[in-house]
Symmetry: C2
Amino acid sequence: RALTIGLIPADGIGREVIPAARRVLEALPSGLLAARPRFVDLDAGFEYFQRHGVALPEETLAALKGDCDGALFGAVSSPSHKVAGYSSPIVGLRKRLDLYANVRPVISGAAATASGARRAIDMLIIRENTECLYIKDEELHDGPDGRYAVAKRRISERASRRVGEMAFAMALQRDGMRRLAPEAERTWKARPKVTIVHKSNVLSVTDGLWRETVRGVHAASAQYRDAVDVEEQLVDSMVYRMFREPEAFDVVVAPNMYGDIISDGAAALVGSLGLVPSANVGDAFVVGEPVHGSAPDIAGRNIANPIAAIRSAAMLLERLGCEPAALAIYRAVDRVLADGRVATPDIGGRSTTTEVADAVCSQL
Amino acid sequence: RALTIGLIPADGIGREVIPAARRVLEALPSGLLAARPRFVDLDAGFEYFQRHGVALPEETLAALKGDCDGALFGAVSSPSHKVAGYSSPIVGLRKRLDLYANVRPVISGAAATASGARRAIDMLIIRENTECLYIKDEELHDGPDGRYAVAKRRISERASRRVGEMAFAMALQRDGMRRLAPEAERTWKARPKVTIVHKSNVLSVTDGLWRETVRGVHAASAQYRDAVDVEEQLVDSMVYRMFREPEAFDVVVAPNMYGDIISDGAAALVGSLGLVPSANVGDAFVVGEPVHGSAPDIAGRNIANPIAAIRSAAMLLERLGCEPAALAIYRAVDRVLADGRVATPDIGGRSTTTEVADAVCSQL
Ligand SMILES: CC(C)[C@H](C(=O)O)[C@@H](O)C(=O)O
Ligand SMILES: CC(C)[C@H](C(=O)O)[C@@H](O)C(=O)O
């Protein structure tokens, strides 16, 4: 059966990198997938909102739920002022499809650290994707000293437990894969480890519940207790340590907002946001999404790095059970990067988006 | 008149670095201060809480308000589990003394960036210090799917305006100082600039109010409009850009939690948390505080880096109007660092806390 993949380029360079990823999916040698994938073009984004008054049309949601096995999302522009009725479509998508974890692998054989040393980084950041400050429950008030606003930050046992489960399961799975791949010994970490990020020295109730619940997932499973270490890191120290000794981390699990900040920071460590993919994962659906934004400054110039989007397409295939096809894409990308001749400006090259996609296709 | 300085070492290495800073203040050549400073030893901290059931005793607050011109705070340990009745004394101190801004200079003539290049960094981070998630208004609930907790994040016009004022005023003041110091041309930025950090693409109401209010401070002053540029940066991109091109920033102003995370990240850029000072500043009082924590792993071994605490003491003097004494300390520290022979392990040396303090004293 052919996979059906929804494509939501949305704004800015999303319209360049999603077509590039599509071309790579189309170029997959037959045999790697049961059948050539089908694509469904779908609307969303701030530009769409400006024309039609809605950022995430119900038709897009209906098509995703009704027709698609998974989807790729490009990037969304932020209005520079508060716009009545506008709400981020990617945040909406995560919520409406219950894509409760955002999974971001950050990998580099040789990345710069703050100390100038080049070290192997092989981190998997798992960000809770449905709550925290992202519930967008905010109110503006008039007070005696002027206006003030209050936002609510929600942390639930249920949401914490399911991303906790995912973190420990993935730590085990990564460990299994490493054992199969002796060439990756370089990045070998003696035992799988999950780092729980929080700020419970200030938020003792919400982050207290988060930390206690994720720790509970570990404590409740003999398998996790035996095979996976668990540690905690305050979010401020996490950012500090991530830059000082990024090789110390394996799986990192964080509430939504901390996860957002940490994963952009980790991207800086491995060279460029243009390289880092992610997958928004739920029990019933998955949406691949490059970590970068819509980059209005370079949009329309065919110089955006498509690698984050291409890797996000591979993550999508992986989650849909098409590991061999995913692996072929990862390897093709690695060869293009290692070769270095075809590269976009963000990583020091002079090639176009199209040329990079072509180079990846030719390496498949 | 002699200055009276409250000393609150609190926990862990706070008890080593605060005495080191005191010795430097005592070693200041007469003439730089009107009279030798007087010191008042004060209690606070988690260890104090464990013995006495209170983390920030009222006597400490009374002594600060009644007898002291300013204070130095060491560091506070975080309990590893929620402890009934415990609340962070530094957060309490900031609130009770209305120390509404935490000012953190991050400076390095040659710091590593994510790209491996070494560049001049000269940033001043101004963190709002009284609200955001730090109001600690949290509740735990029982829901149909298990427990959930909600924290409130408060952003007010009043608190945003006063740190905004401070940010623009300091941008001008830094510019004035740079013009007087031609040797600092290296770190010269053509025009002073304030970067407003927020996440208004998600928190359109709270961070919308924050951004609009800080922008309003700029718009309302002809002097600021003429002489200071203003830009905005989403907090996730801020962490990314800070590591890719830290030399692009001048003054950075952020709500409390983002400011906490960003300043630890910035510390990683310039080498060690053990080097970065801060001042908690209000209209009526100032408390110097090294950015590092209580570091239980190295506490009691006389190897903690006292430089952050010593620089915090200099920031305290500066805010109290004793610029020549402050400058003497900054210069002595710079000479010790440039010489490099006396250094604690965190920056690659083998010296003790005491030896570093001695070296700074001998350079005064
Ligand atoms: C665009 C924005 C709402 C989004 C987020 O904060 O989640 C983005 O930064 C991301 O990380 O996918
Ligand atoms: C100890 C902790 C409460 C504190 C904070 O988050 O403000 C610390 O990280 C700091 O930055 O001074």
